[in-house]
């Protein structure tokens, strides 16, 4: 919206196209995330209902939880992309819409943080997992951009 409404900005159509592409990806990922989480939840209930140790069941559960971490990992990364896109927009868009670009970065940072949290939860205790590191790096990148764009001097 910020790009679309900034008629005098030469790169606006290109930024708008990227925003649309990211939005399409986010919708698809949200649906994938829902399906993966449903499957993981079923596996969790199976595990809770089962008695004693069952290596095969535990392995299946672990696989489902890993799959449930995959979509949030990409969503965390998309959040960082949205914040970066907002940063590219804020210096070039019409002044009226700078606050909207800053708000988009804040929302993206929130989404990235929520997604990183889900990655952490779904991966369980594995704090050294590179996927978690990746999600946390995305969260940090989005947060830093959002904080910078939200500074009152802007």
């Amino acid at each position: 919206m910020v790009a679309r409404c900034s008629a005098g900005w030469e790169s606006a159509p290109g930024v708008s196209a990227q925003a649309s592409a990211i939005s399409d990806r986010a919708v698809a990922l949200a649906q994938t995330d829902g399906r993966a989480w449903d499957a993981a939840l079923l596996a969790l209930r199976d595990a809770e209902a089962g008695a004693g140790a069952d290596a095969r069941r535990d392995f299946a559960l672990e696989r489902k939880l890993e799959a449930a971490a995959a979509a949030p990992l990409e969503i965390a990364s998309l959040g960082a992309d949205v914040a970066a896109l907002a940063a590219a927009a804020i210096d070039n868009c019409e002044a009226t819409y700078r606050a909207d670009a800053s708000a988009a970065a804040s929302l993206a940072a929130g989404g990235s943080a929520a997604a990183a949290h889900l990655v952490r939860v779904n991966l369980g205790m594995r704090t050294d997992d590179p996927r978690l590191a990746h999600a946390l790096a995305s969260e940090q990148a989005a947060r830093e951009v959002a904080e910078r764009l939200g500074e009152p001097t802007r």
């Binding site: 290109g14 930024v15 990227q18 960082a80 970066a84 590219a88 995305s138």
Partner: protein
């Protein structure tokens, strides 16, 4: 990439006529997905029928290239050969040869237009710098994040969105400057 991949269609046709085998390979490479997409997406042919169409169309191109009047009109010519062959494939299934507008539903017709548009974009893309082609492919086709693009191309992450926007601007100019 071969020495022929950057040749415009008209020059490629001339090289094919001169018997250049590499040029023929490039022609098939350049148009194979196009022919297949028309058959499968436009006319909803089965994979087997599309394969037959594919073979026949490229055989016809090979045999009849000398009859092409305007060398730069290679793509519309191939599209026409493919559409006719697809209609033959449909009629061979027991129906009379339908007119193209009768053979295609609205959705199929729209898909055919999408195929045409996708190919036009692909042609315009091939005229951009390799850097632009690469970054647009990574973002729009491979769904890579800015961070991944920045790491793999070793360029600052904060510049990716602007680079993509500039390359899209060039792509738009290339599309708009087409006759």
């Amino acid at each position: 990439m071969t020495r022929h991949s950057s040749l415009p269609d008209a020059e490629l046709v001339r090289a094919c006529r001169a018997g250049d085998a590499e040029a023929w390979n490039e022609l098939v490479e350049r148009y194979s997905r196009y022919v297949y997409a028309i058959a499968v997406r436009g006319f909803r042919l089965s994979d087997d029928d599309a394969e037959d169409v594919f073979q026949d169309v490229f055989t016809k191109i090979y045999l009849r290239l000398d009859t092409l009047r305007d060398d730069s009109a290679l793509r519309p010519w191939i599209a026409q050969l493919t559409r006719r062959r697809c209609l033959d494939a449909i009629s061979s299934k027991g129906r009379e040869t339908p007119a193209e507008e009768e053979a295609l539903t609205g959705e199929e017709s729209a898909d055919l237009a999408d195929v045409e548009e996708a190919f036009e974009v692909r042609e315009a893309l091939s005229g951009l710098s390799e850097n632009c082609q690469d970054i647009l492919d990574r973002f729009f086709a491979q769904d890579q994040s800015y961070r991944t693009i920045a790491e793999e191309l070793e360029i600052p992450s904060g510049t990716i969105a602007s680079r993509i926007a500039r390359c899209l601007g060039r792509l738009k100019d290339a599309l708009e400057s087409k006759p």
